[in-house]
Symmetry: C2
Subunit: 245 residues, 2 copies
């Protein structure tokens, strides 16, 4: 339910009947491409404002499942690594300015205190995805849904810049503790690629030789075969993640 629910008559639909009021979900979708950490953002229709993918929680849906659904809608992936990281609830954070503008441009007018305009708490989830497998898809409010480099983000609506910052912080803390990097990579990868992901996420340079040893010593990598790049140097090995140790 609710997948492309938002398309029909805004004026007549009873949002309260299907969705929980005053709560929403915002998602930060991380992907790696060309040695850079990327985030999936939507650009709103008419206004050109940038925002994180997000959505409402169905009354008959668990919170986690809501996040999963929203992420599937935007990425096309049936499932992905997904983690709740923080809930944002400052008073000033809900600013219906852009939504009102978009609806006005569509010729839709809703009452001032409409469900969609009221203050809401937002539960933040971050997702790690294989960049190459994602097919970004805008929602009804947005013109585009595209990857943006984390170090060159456009201005975002509301508190979405802070939400991304907090997501990154959490990801950095989780990176070593849980073994989750592999969600950002294709099945097979070189040690250099793995290191680059670490470096872009942690935003710091790591020693090549120490990194190699550390990863190998974790005992979760399997050497697969050599990858001949055609370059004038030793061919690197490809590694695979051992799913269950």
């Amino acid at each position: 339910m609710a997948k492309e629910f938002l398309i029909p008559n805004w004026e007549t639909i009873d949002f309260e009947k299907y969705f929980l009021p005053s709560v929403a979900i915002d998602t930060v979708i991380f992907g790696v491409h060309e040695n850079a950490l990327k985030v999936l953002l939507m650009q709103y229709k008419y206004t050109g404002a940038f925002a994180l993918p997000g959505g409402l929680i169905s009354r008959d849906e668990n919170l986690y499942d809501s996040a999963q659904r929203i992420l599937t809608d935007r990425t096309g992936l049936p499932q992905m690594y997904l983690e709740q990281f923080f809930t944002f609830g400052d008073q000033g954070r809900s600013d219906p300015h852009f939504l009102k503008q978009i609806l006005a441009a569509k010729g839709i007018t809703l009452p001032k205190d409409h469900f969609l305009f009221r203050r809401s708490i937002s539960v933040g989830y971050y997702a790690l995805v294989d960049f190459t497998k994602v097919i970004p898809k805008p929602d009804v409010l947005s013109e585009t849904c595209q990857w943006y480099d984390l170090i060159a983000l456009p201005a975002l609506i509301q508190d979405h810049t802070q939400i991304i910052a907090k997501a990154l912080e959490t990801l950095q803390e989780h990176l070593d503790k849980r073994l989750i990097v592999f969600n950002l990579l294709p099945e097979k990868f070189t040690m250099a690629e793995l290191q680059t992901v670490y470096e872009t996420v942690l935003q710091s340079k790591l020693l090549r030789t120490s990194f190699q040893r550390k990863m190998v010593n974790l005992g979760i990598l399997e050497k697969v075969e050599k990858k001949h790049t055609g370059k004038a140097h030793k061919a690197p090995y490809l590694y695979k993640f051992l799913s269950r140790k």
Copy 2:
């Protein structure tokens, strides 16, 4: 506002006017007493059911401030160490059974789909307090507000047992990373007392000599004076936490 707001006419008060619907806060208040980790629980009137302190979010209040207010109401402390740890949003988690029973016993009848009976998401905060400074105070729904040993908790309503488990898990992760143990202790304490707190929180024995060195090497402790216990052994030093390094 909203402090003892819940006392008067349940039937006539417009909850939606003052509080956000479908969101609540639950708090896990940790304290240490007699070498044991304790949690503050309320016991509901009439039903005898046990629950975590919690409450609603005022429309004009930041999320964090709501949690602070709820905690001040239950402990009497104007402020305390406070951290958001998770947001719980499974469908089945809201069970208005006990609330309905209590209201029925009071002779209050509210419509079946009343604000207070609907499914809600709950934002979890944990607090660390100095046990000796807390003056527990029940809310309007509860008969008592008391400390319970973490390893001998009574059965709790809804998903409150899981909420406590998640809070403890988070506290364990934060214990070494942030320097927060001191919120559970009085100003001056012996190394043995500090170690006991670590052991009860982490639920594992630690080596006395290594622990001593580790704590001292952190450089955040100040040796104050000796504490003569009257026991037949060397008097331990009292230590103080250096607030800002």
